[in-house]
Amino acid sequence: MARYLFIIFASVFFCVDPAYAQTTPEEYRAREIGAQLRCVVCQNQSIEESDAQLAEDMRLVVREQVEAGASNEAVIAYMRNNYGDYVLLKPPVQANTYVLWFLPFALALFGLLWFGLRSKRKSQFVETQAALSAEDQAILDDLMREDT
């Protein structure tokens, strides 16, 4: 019974994808492309990583096109044509993503610059008086006694 069920189940829901038969250069290329395409019904998963049926459909299309000799760029452009920028896991660098791509580096640069300007050289370094009164300071220092 189990075996019977299983065969029906397997034949109804899955059809063997001929492209998987062995790991060919095409298969490697298809996986490389697939890793860059988002399964559009999943949370940030690529179509290679997803169990969703739509991801399976998209994997098949990628493999068909790779077999037919399409270049990586052509397959990705085809998907982008159908699903828009949304299908690209790596957002393209274009007018509406400049902020996304450059802000992190601008922030890092700005932060380091600020740090460089704010900090003083040793010769200029003079300790100012702490805000607390000397008495409080003594108590606090006693409490906090740091190493080194």
Binding site: L54, D57, G84
Partner: protein
């Protein structure tokens, strides 16, 4: 109060504004990239397996292309609206039966009624990726020259038909 102290507050308010706006949006709805582009080429059998269909099927008539499947629960909800359209309009209703078996689809269409003038049988999702579909039901409005003019994601409710689809269809039909 000083200006530097206000920066975090201002930034936060901008964020809350965006978050509030996003509450009104459904993240699963993806706009179609295919608007004003020709319906993709395909070659598939019809559900009755009597004929081979291709994109020329859409030429000369304004059509509603509806993606469905007997496994799709929301399609059952939408179905009465499609049945009503069949009677009240002279649109060409094209069904795309997705990831289905002929047996299940026929049984489903007998039980719920068949509103379609023609059903494209697509068990292996040949038409799904070219159409940029994410799930069923999805519906395309195609004009006489075979160009996609509109895509609706999800169930066609009477409100959506009256407010959005009907005016569009009528204006397309007015163009000869």
């Amino acid at each position: 109060m000083n200006l530097r102290g206000l920066i975090p507050l201002a930034g936060f308010f901008v964020l809350v504004g965006f978050l509030a706006f996003s509450l009104t949006r459904d993240p699963s709805i993806l706009p179609s990239e295919l608007i004003d582009k020709p319906f993709p080429e395909f070659e598939l059998a019809n559900l009755a397996e009597t004929d081979t269909l291709d994109a020329s099927l859409l030429e000369g008539k304004v059509s509603l292309v509806n993606v469905f499947g007997s496994w799709c629960v929301a399609c059952t909800v939408e179905h009465p609206q499609l049945m009503a359209l069949k009677d009240e309009t002279d649109l060409q209703l094209v069904g795309v039966d997705w990831r289905d078996t002929r047996e299940n689809a026929n049984r489903w269409l007998v039980r719920h009624g068949n509103p379609y003038d023609v059903v494209v049988f697509d068990p292996h999702s040949k038409l799904i990726v070219p159409l940029g579909i994410t799930g069923a039901p999805e519906t395309f409005v195609v004009d006489r020259s075979g160009q996609i003019r509109y895509k609706h994601i999800g169930v066609i409710t009477p409100e959506i038909w009256d407010d959005t689809l009907r005016p569009l269809v009528e204006s397309l039909q007015a163009v000869q």
